[in-house]
Amino acid sequence: MREVFLDNRGLQPPEPMIRTLSQLEELSMGDVLTIHNDRVPVYLLPQLLDEGAAYQVEELPDGSAKVRIVKGSP
């Protein structure tokens, strides 16, 4: 199982989403992608489900959010 981390902070929408989904495509089933965004990426979440991925959102005190994504099969 691979674990990849992407720091998407400071990027303008929709760059974080495109970066995340591009990276997800390169991973295999069961691999984990963790992203750190300026805010909870609300519009990414339904896209992740469409890709068959499971996710866990952690909101941090500074307003940013980490999302742990486990790649599944679409």
């Binding site: 303008q12 929709p14 989904l21 909870v40 609300v42 519009y43 979440l45 959102v57």
Partner: protein, 433 residues
């Protein structure tokens, strides 16, 4: 009914959702009205019915949807919380009541009091909305040209309705007419190009990138489109002011011609940029609403042909019903799905059943009906304006009624399916603080 909660730093989701549903409903009402009165587009385009229908489309369909998305989109694009979140509870109802009064005022023979009261309400509502977007942008300044374009388009929207109110005043009072002339072309140009086209160029750049997963590329075309739009409005203003200032009529004509030339450049930029975004996309198969957004751009060259054959009105109809109408319709379904999904399921805290997929929220079979109906309607309406054919006008009205009814059904389906499922929390989504 318990409402879903906000999830994106924007206003309460009821505001954008009700505006989007209201916009879809208004298009059905407009199409039914056109079916009852098809001569509104095959006859004199300055008739009360024609002007009323135009304002129903531009205000209660396009601008209402625009106003609805402004309750959420700036917060997402500018990565901050929307300022004065509660102001939408004033602006949306004020705008709708003003626009309805305005449409009624036009339809019943340009009633000055209805136009003044309705126009005034619309101006105040969009003034507050523009101030809200500017305040949000001040807190978190836009860092890319597309976000800046969106903020600019909102300002042009306010300017367009203010000019419309002045125009109504000029029609009713010789004193106002002497002071400001009849800035009809400036009002139309600011609305269609400054507000609608620039809004689609700017927000479309972001949204198409997001929906097609298009990798970033050079942004010079977006920057150029924004600069050219400023040029179009400035030249149209010069053409409107020149007669009042006693400047030679040639100056006004040159300014008008130059403005039209710049509009064609803006349209060409957008046409090429959408092509570039599609070439860079990771998602090979586009979803049906996104395809409709892309198809809208086929009306840009058609509008150019209409200008070339000398029918400015047919060109305006191709731009409004075809380009703006299809682009807004495509984004309406996509934005509504995202909005309702994120509101209902975006931060579910426990685990029992999986949330639905986005595609499960809508009925796939409705999409081709919407696209075919609205496309055929826009084509037939352009033909009706060009030829004065009552048959083409009836065809336009029928097709628009089919397309807009399917769109309303789709919009209601998305809302009802979300409301019906929102109490089943997500198994895959867990949020911790």
């Amino acid at each position: 009914m318990t409402l879903p909660r906000a999830a994106s730093g924007g206003a309460h989701p009821l505001l954008p959702v009700s505006a989007l549903v209201g916009g879809a409903l208004a298009l059905v009402a407009g199409a039914a009205w056109l079916l009852a009165e098809p001569q509104a587009i095959s006859g004199f385009v300055g008739s009360p019915g024609s002007v009323a229908l135009t304002h129903l489309f531009t205000l209660l369909f396009v601008t209402l949807i625009y106003l609805g998305t402004l309750q959420q989109l700036p917060a997402v694009l500018l990565v901050t919380d929307l300022e004065w979140r509660a102001s939408g509870w004033v602006t949306v109802p004020l705008f709708v009541s003003g626009a309805v009064l305005l449409v009624w005022g036009f339809a019943s023979g340009f009633r000055p009091i209805a136009l003044a009261a309705g126009g005034g309400a619309v101006v105040v509502a969009l003034g507050i909305a523009a101030a809200q977007v500017l305040a949000t942008a001040r807190k978190s300044p836009p860092k890319d040209p597309a976000s800046r374009g969106l903020v600019t388009a909102v300002c042009y929207m306010f300017l367009a309705v203010t000019l419309g109110l002045l125009l109504a005043g000029a029609r009713s009072s010789p004193l106002v007419a002497t002071a400001v002339g009849y800035p009809a072309t400036l009002h139309q140009t600011t609305g269609i190009i400054g507000a609608f086209m620039l809004g689609i160029v700017a927000s479309g750049h972001k949204l198409l990138s997001m929906f097609a997963l298009s990798k970033g590329g050079p942004l010079w075309r977006v920057r150029a489109a924004i600069a050219l739009t400023h040029g179009v409005v400035a030249l149209s203003a010069l053409a409107a002011v020149a007669p009042l200032a006693g400047w030679p009529p040639t100056l006004s004509r040159i300014a008008s011609d130059a403005a039209i030339l710049l509009v064609s450049f803006v349209a060409a930029m957008q046409f090429i940029e959408v092509g570039a975004l599609l070439r860079r996309r990771l998602r090979r198969r586009l979803e049906a609403p996104v395809e409709r957004y892309v198809l809208a751009h086929a009306f840009l060259p058609l509008a150019g042909v209409m200008f070339a054959v000398g029918s400015q009105t047919a060109a305006a109809v191709a731009l409004l019903l075809g380009f703006v109408g299809l682009a807004v319709s495509g984004m309406l379904v996509k934005i509504l799905s995202f909005l309702t999904w994120t509101s209902a399921f975006g931060a579910a805290r426990d685990a029992a059943a999986p949330p639905p997929l986005l595609k499960d929220l809508s009925r796939a079979w409705l999409e081709p009906v919407i696209t075919a109906g609205l496309t055929l309607g826009a084509l037939a309406a352009t033909l009706a304006i060009l030829t004065g054919s009552l048959l083409a006008a009836r065809l336009a009205a029928s097709a628009l009624l089919v397309g807009s009814s399917a769109q309303l059904l789709q919009v209601l389906t998305v809302v009802m399916r979300t409301l019906g499922r929102q109490w089943r929390p997500a198994s895959t989504a867990v949020t911790t603080k």
